[in-house]
């Protein structure tokens, strides 16, 4: 027991941002556990024999590994994956455990924690580092590994399936859902507060722990719908015509529901930094959404724009649009061109990687920016002080990735 706790101190010392989570774990000694395992209620089951044969520094690595399963919510995600794909059974459990280990192990060792010999790494199957558990599960069968790693068992905390030795939700010293959320939240806030200390993988986790990224298609759709449906545009109520209900209630003035198809203008950044595949998928999406909000095809126009804006072409068939450009970007000319067209658009959708100057003031219509994320660029060779502006606050920004 002392050895195990010394290992926890070691882990706290080299990973101070995980201290809260490590100390929140409740240790349960149990001889029937193969090695060390966690359950969904933040209890850590430990086999005394396993502790006896491991050196302290390797045990520290095991602590960090097990707590990572819990912080990354592998039990909830594992259960969801099993339910969605209807994959149950011991083989599947092992597969989920291996995939979860892949997600964890690629960046927790080193820097004070020795690499254990038998560590399960994505490179064993020739897979890339840095993917999520679900991605590993989808891309690989892992059948080659399963036979060698049948002993691997990180408990229900890793895959969501109960084990015989576990105390269950009603047992002593478990953490409730809200308490677990609170611990995870404190760790995430700690990492975000001192981002220098934690490696990339943990920082990404901290950013997404409580706001998992949503599919951009839905976000873009919601943004365009809400822009196109704002008062004055799209489907709304009007007193310009009597309501069809009016005849039934004499003496009452009723509004009628009127549909004014919104005019959508898509400004496309065709500078060299945006790939054709990215543009193609985003453009098709915009066209589909514009149709869904009631826009007729002739009301959707497209302007391709690099340093200078092209002509506004009506979107007759999405496949026909010719995207011209390839140099540097100045979206301002695209906006000017869009606003000068007659009749003026109700919504401007700009698809860009954001490496551009923006108009200095809000255009007189709703603006949605579909942003292709780019890693922060270090130095521009011509102008070391050049920093591309972030999209302005008057635009609704949807990150497309």
């Amino acid at each position: 027991m002392e050895k195990l706790l010394a290992a926890r101190l070691h882990a706290v010392k080299v990973r101070p941002y995980l201290a809260v989570a490590l100390f929140a774990l409740h240790v349960v000694e149990d001889r029937s556990v193969p090695t060390m395992a966690v359950d969904a209620h933040w209890r850590c089951y430990v086999s005394p024999a396993f502790v006896a044969r491991m050196p302290v520094e390797e045990l520290a690595g095991v602590w960090v590994h097990e707590v990572s399963h819990l912080l990354r919510d592998h039990h909830g995600r594992g259960e969801r994956y099993a339910r969605e794909n209807e994959e149950y059974g011991p083989g599947e459990r092992l597969r989920r455990n291996i995939a979860a280990d892949f997600e964890i192990n690629d960046d927790i060792y080193g820097d004070g924690l020795p690499h254990p010999l038998g560590a399960v790494l994505p490179s064993l199957l020739g897979l890339d580092n840095g993917l999520l558990m679900e991605e590993y599960l989808r891309t690989s069968s892992m059948s080659g590994l399963a036979a060698d790693l049948a002993w691997l068992d990180c408990g229900s905390g890793a895959d969501g399936q109960a084990r015989p030795w576990e105390l269950g939700p009603d047992g002593a010293n478990g953490l409730t859902r809200q308490q677990r959320d609170a611990v995870r939240f404190r760790v995430a806030e700690g990492i975000k507060g001192r981002p220098g200390e934690a490696p990339e993988g943990w920082r990404r986790w901290a950013d997404e722990a409580f706001h998992p990224p949503q599919p951009w298609r839905q976000l873009l759709g919601a943004a365009i719908r809400s822009a196109a449906g704002a008062p004055g545009v799209g489907e709304n109520h009007t007193y310009r015509r009597p309501s069809r209900r009016s005849a039934a209630v004499p003496g009452v003035v009723l509004p009628s529901l009127r549909r004014t198809p919104p005019r959508v203008c898509v400004v496309i950044d065709t500078s060299g930094s945006v790939s054709d595949a990215e543009l193609g998928s985003a453009l098709l999406e915009v066209a589909a959404i514009a149709r869904a909000v009631g826009g007729r095809r002739d009301l959707v126009s497209v302007i391709s724009c690099d340093a200078a804006a092209g002509l506004a072409a009506p979107l007759c068939r999405a496949e026909d649009i010719e995207l011209i450009g390839g140099g540097g970007t100045d979206l301002r000319s695209g906006f000017t061109r869009a606003l000068r067209s007659h009749p003026r658009p109700d919504v401007i959708v700009a698809l860009t990687d954001g490496q551009t100057p923006w108009p200095s003031e809000a255009p007189p219509c709703r603006t949605v920016v579909g942003l292709f994320p780019r890693p922060a660029r270090g130095v521009n060779e011509h102008d070391p002080d050049y920093v591309p502006d972030t999209p302005p606050s008057w635009a609704r920004v949807v990150v497309i990735n």
């Binding site: 611990v183 919601a222 109520h237």
Partner: protein
Amino acid sequence: MTSHALLPANPQLALADDLLKLLRTTSTEPRPDDQLEALTLAVAADLPVLLWGEPGIGKTAALTQLADSLGLPLTTVIASVHEPTDFSGLPIVGDDPAVQGVPMAPPQWAVELVRAGRGLLFLDELSTATPAVQAALLRVVLERRVGALQLPPGVRIVAAANPRASAADGWELSPPLANRFVHLYWVHDREVVVRGLGGVWPRAELPRLEPARLAEAVAFARRAVCGFLHARPTLIHRLPSTETRRGGAWPSPRSWETALTLLAFGTAADVSREVLALLVRGAVGDGPGLELLAHLDRMDLPDPESLLADPPAAELPERGDLRQAALEAVVAAVGARPERERWEAGWAVLVRAMETGAPDLLVAPAKALAGLRRDEWEVPAAVERLAKVVGIADRAERSVERVEAGLGAGR
């Protein structure tokens, strides 16, 4: 009169009626259900609740159960099939509008609700209502007015919406409307569904407010929220900035007041922290809500001065991270007013902690306490009993050094 009434009843149809009656005979049982408890508490606190949930998940069924067990008549209004005037009142032109004005006539459901004096108003399909209808609903939800009618205090308001992902043609909730609601995310519990289909649904019970605790609950809620916002003033008002957070709860003075009310009700009814967390996060959003809960956790820690006053009887939290926080508070209290007796009492608290829990938690507080020593103070005899802690700390230290040496050697 039509001739249908004279036709003999079809025996098959009568049998079908019997079968339906049997199917619809269900009973209820009290069952601990956090989300139902949270809903009931928010309804009791007279705060508008918004249930988010996939279609067909049983939101309406839960509302029917709630209305039944509260003894309130349920009025369901599907927001998306109404027009703004159904909520703001239908303008009726009279004989002389210039003199009498144009009255805004309320719809029938509102009149009936006012006549009953109490009831549960359920606004369904909120997110698929047009922006103009949502704007008209603002007034119903906030001011409780439908046209010229004022809804009586006995009327409670609950709304339901489908999340954006499943409402393909939905509008999103505007931030002002979203800010007025307590957002509860409705998920189905496998067991509740299975047992319910078997004929037994869970029963919502009104939270039992303790008459003796009312004043104390208000004081606690005020202390918690004010103390927290004093420390984190940036969280008082924060409009949702990213796309993913739109349409949900966000912090503003109004929603903090909601959180305060919920905290007071929750305390007076002595509900679990789980339920409280659902409500607080639903009022001010996940991030600020979780931070407030962490603040509550810290408020729950034992007072360091009382621990120092009687170390052998010290009751420390079971959970490791909280226990360490309590011990650090003790050391900080000693550091704030360093006196020999207090310093020795600090060691006694640490000894007590070692006897009742994991020793590795003590390393950091013990180090800090040792650092507070003045030259003329002798090390108390009790410290020897912490030898185990020192042993563990040394062992961890050596192991860290081994790893560093191993890396230095080019491993």
